[in-house]
C-alpha cells in the first residue's frame, strides 16, 4: 500500500514536470510548477506520517490537560510539517512573482504563448 502512495505522488510530480517542459503556454507552465510544488509537499507529508499499531497518528499538538510527554507516543512527525509550511510559503511567493512576470510578458507581447515570445536565441 505504501508503495502505491509514494509512486502515485511521483506520478503527480511527473504531471507537473511534463507541463513545465513540454507546454508552451505561460499559464500552463505556471500551473505545472505549482503541481510540482504540491507533489513535493505531499511527499514530505507522506514521509512524516506515522501510524501507531494500526491507529492513525495524531496531530503534533498537545491537547489541553495531557502530560507534556504524551506526544512522543501518539503524534506524527512534526519536522516535515514545519518544512512543508516553509515550502508552501516559498510556493506562494513564487506564484506571485510568476504571475507578475506573466502579466508583464503579456503586456509586451500580447500573448501567453512562448512560441511567439522568442526574442532570445537559446
Amino acid at each position: 500500500m505504501g508503495i502505491t502512495l509514494y509512486v502515485l505522488a511521483f506520478a503527480v510530480l511527473l504531471a507537473g514536470l511534463y507541463a513545465v517542459v513540454a507546454k508552451k503556454n505561460i499559464i500552463k507552465i505556471i500551473v505545472g510548477v505549482l503541481i510540482l510544488d504540491y507533489a513535493v509537499n505531499m511527499m514530505l507529508v507522506l514521509v512524516g506520517y506515522r501510524s501507531i499499531d494500526g491507529q492513525a497518528g495524531q496531530a503534533p499538538i498537545l491537547p489541553g490537560g495531557a502530560e507534556t510527554g504524551a506526544l512522543a507516543k501518539s503524534a506524527v512527525d512534526p519536522l516535515p510539517q514545519a518544512m512543508v509550511l516553509t515550502s508552501i510559503v516559498i510556493g506562494l511567493g513564487l506564484t506571485a512573482l510568476m504571475v507578475a512576470m506573466a502579466i508583464r510578458l503579456y503586456e509586451k507581447y500580447g500573448t501567453f504563448d512562448m512560441n511567439e515570445i522568442r526574442r532570445l536565441r537559446g
Binding site: L13, G16, L17, V20, I26, I29, V33, L36, D37, A39, V40, M43, L44, V47, L79, P80, M83, T86, S87, I90, G93, L94, L97, M98, M101, A102, R104, L105, K108, Y109, I117, R118, R119, L120, G122
Partner: protein, 508 residues
C-alpha cells in the same frame, strides 16, 4: 569570533528591510545606497577577519549542547573561502552599481534585492543543515530572478521567466532529494545525515534516487551542461553588476559550492558521484567553450565562458572525489585537485566579474554590446580597456595572471589523478578560450573606432571597481602560494575531512 558568524546573514537582511523602510521616508531616501554599501563592506570585513580564526560551529538559538535540535551554522575553511569570494565581488559590484544603476528607476528596490541575495548566499555557505541550505538557496534564487528582469524590457522579462521556471524545477528536485534523505535518516543536519547514510549504505537504491535528485537540481543551479539552457539568456540580460554577481558568485555559491558540500560532506565521495561530477564538468567545459566561440554579443560570450570555466571547477572536484573514493586514497593528489578547483573558483569570481563589469562600462559608454560594432576602445576608454584586458588575459590562462596558475594546477592534478585524456581536453579548452578572447581584443579594444567614436571613459566609481578586481586578478597570480596556505588548503581540508569539520562541537 563566534558571535560574528550570524551577523553575516543578519546584517544584509536587516539592512535590506531597512532600505525599504527608508525609501518611503522623504529626506532619508538618499541614504539607502550608502547604507547598502556599508552593509556589504562590513560583511567583507567580517569574512576577512574570520579567515584567521578557527573553524566555528554554532547552533542557532543555542539548541546544540550535545543535540542537533537546532540549525547548525558551520564556518570551516571552505565556508571562509566562499564568504571572502562572495563578499568581495558583492562589495565591488555594489560600489559599481552606485554609478551604473542611475539609469534605472526605483533603485532602492535594486539595493534591497541585492542585499537579500548577498545575505542569502552567505546563509547558503554557512548552513550546516540541508533544509536551511535549501531555504537560503531559494531566497538567493528568487532575488536573482527579479534582478534579471530588473530592466523590465521584453527580452529581460523573457530571460527572467525562463530562469525562474528552470530554477524552480531545480529547487523542487533539491527539496525532493532532501525529503528522501530525511526519510532515510530522520535528520536534517548534514553531519547527522552523513552518519545515518553510512549505516543505511551510501549507494543503496533510495540514496541513489535522492542523490540523483540533488545532483540534477544543483546542476541546474550551477548551469552544468545539459542543464545550462537558462544561463546564456539570464546572465547577459541582467544589469551589469548583477551579471557580475550571478556569473561571479551565485552559480558558485548555490551551484558548485552546494554540489561540493552535498557530495563530499553528505553523500560521501563514492565512485558513482565522482563520475557524475566529472562527466558534468568535462561536458560543460567543452560544450561551453564551443558555444562561446561563435558569439558576437560580448555579454553572451562571457556567459558561455562561465559555463565552460565552471566545468573546470566541477571536473577538478569530481577528480578529487574519485581519488578520495579509491580504496587507498592519495590525499596529496586529492588535495591538489581540490586546490586547483577551488583556486579556479576564486579566480573565476574575480576575472569574470571584472569582465562583466567592464562590459557594462562599454555598454553604457559606447551604447553597444556587439563586438563588431566596437573597436578602438583602448584609446577612448583607457582604464576600462586596460582592466578588461587583464581580465581577458586571466581567463585565457596567460601567465602570470591568476587563471594560468589555477588551470595549470587543475591540468597537473588531473594527470596525477590518472586522467591524462581529460587533462589534454582541459589544455585544448584553455587554447580555445584564449582564441575566443583574442577575438575580443581584436574587435573591441584594437582597430579603428567605428560606431563608438563618441565613447568616453566611464565614471570614477565604476573605474575604481574595475581596478580593484584587476588588482585581485594580478595578485591572485603572484600570491598563489600564500593564498593556498591561508585560504585554499583549509578549504580543501574541510572537504576531505568533511565529517570532521562539520561535527566538531557536536557529540552525538
Amino acid at each position: 569570533m563566534e558571535p560574528l558568524v550570524p551577523l553575516l546573514v543578519a546584517v544584509p537582511l536587516g539592512v535590506a528591510f531597512a532600505v525599504v523602510l527608508l525609501a518611503h521616508v522623504r529626506g532619508l531616501r538618499r541614504l539607502t545606497g550608502l547604507l547598502a554599501v556599508a552593509a556589504v563592506v562590513a560583511n567583507l570585513a567580517i569574512s576577512l577577519v574570520l579567515i584567521g580564526g578557527p573553524t566555528i560551529n554554532t547552533f542557532v538559538g543555542g539548541w546544540g549542547d550535545g543535540r542537533t535540535l537546532g540549525i547548525q551554522m558551520v564556518c570551516d575553511g571552505l565556508a571562509k573561502l566562499m564568504l571572502v569570494t562572495i563578499n568581495l565581488v558583492a562589495a565591488v559590484s555594489i560600489v559599481y552599481a552606485g554609478a551604473y544603476m542611475r539609469r534605472f528607476t526605483k533603485v532602492w528596490l535594486f539595493e534591497s534585492l541585492f542585499l537579500l541575495m548577498t545575505g542569502a548566499m552567505n546563509g547558503v555557505v554557512l548552513a550546516g543543515d540541508l533544509f536551511n541550505m535549501f531555504v537560503f538557496l531559494e531566497v538567493a534564487a528568487i532575488a536573482s530572478y527579479a534582478l534579471v528582469g530588473f530592466g523590465c524590457e521584453a527580452e529581460e522579462l523573457e530571460a527572467a521567466f525562463k530562469y525562474l521556471i528552470l530554477g524552480t524545477v531545480g529547487s523542487a528536485l533539491i527539496l525532493l532529494g532532501i525529503t528522501i534523505l530525511y526519510s532515510l535518516t530522520g535528520n536534517l543536519n548534514m553531519a547527522m545525515v552523513s552518519q545515518g547514510l553510512a549505516v543505511v549504505g551510501r549507494t543503496s537504491p533510495a540514496v541513489l534516487l535522492a542523490a540523483a535528485m540533488l545532483l540534477a537540481g544543483l546542476s541546474l543551479k550551477a548551469a552544468m551542461v545539459p542543464f545550462h539552457a537558462w544561463l546564456p539568456d539570464a546572465h547577459p540580460s541582467a544589469p551589469a553588476p548583477i551579471s557580475a554577481m550571478l556569473s561571479g558568485v551565485l552559480i558558485k555559491a548555490s551551484g558548485v559550492y552546494a554540489l561540493a558540500r552535498v557530495v563530499f560532506s553528505v553523500l560521501g565521495p563514492s565512485p558513482q558521484y565522482a563520475t557524475v561530477l566529472m562527466v558534468l564538468g568535462a561536458a560543460s567545459m567543452v560544450i561551453g567553450v564551443f558555444l562561446a566561440i561563435g558569439q558576437w554579443d560580448f555579454k553572451r560570450l562571457l556567459a558561455y565562458h562561465s559555463i565552460s570555466q565552471m566545468g573546470y571547477v566541477v571536473l577538478a572536484l569530481g577528480a578529487a572525489a574519485a581519488v578520495m573514493s579509491r580504496s587507498d586514497p592519495d590525499r596529496t593528489v586529492a588535495g591538489l585537485c581540490l586546490f586547483g578547483g577551488l583556486f579556479h573558483l576564486f579566480n573565476h569570481a574575480a576575472f569574470k566579474s571584472l569582465l562583466f563589469l567592464s562590459s557594462g562600462c562599454i555598454e553604457q559608454q559606447a551604447g553597444t554590446r556587439l563586438l563588431k560594432e566596437m573597436g578602438g576602445l583602448s584609446r577612448r576608454m583607457p582604464i576600462t580597456s586596460f582592466c578588461c584586458r587583464i581580465g581577458a588575459l586571466s581567463i585565457a590562462g596567460v601567465p602570470p595572471f591568476n587563471g594560468f596558475f589555477s588551470k595549470l594546477i587543475i591540468i597537473i592534478s588531473l594527470f596525477l589523478a590518472g586522467y591524462p585524456v581529460l587533462a589534454g581536453v582541459a589544455v585544448l579548452v584553455a587554447l580555445m578560450t584564449l582564441l575566443s578572447f583574442i577575438k575580443v581584443q581584436r574587435y573591441a579594444l584594437e582597430g579603428e573606432p567605428t560606431k563608438t567614436a563618441g565613447a568616453v571613459e566611464a565614471p570614477a566609481l565604476m573605474c575604481i571597481a574595475l581596478v580593484v578586481l584587476a588588482v585581485v586578478c594580478v595578485a591572485g597570480g603572484l600570491a598563489a602560494i600564500p593564498l593556498r596556505d591561508h585560504l585554499f588548503a583549509p578549504a580543501g581540508d574541510a572537504l576531505m575531512n568533511a565529517s570532521g569539520s562539520l561535527t566538531a562541537g557536536v557529540t552525538p
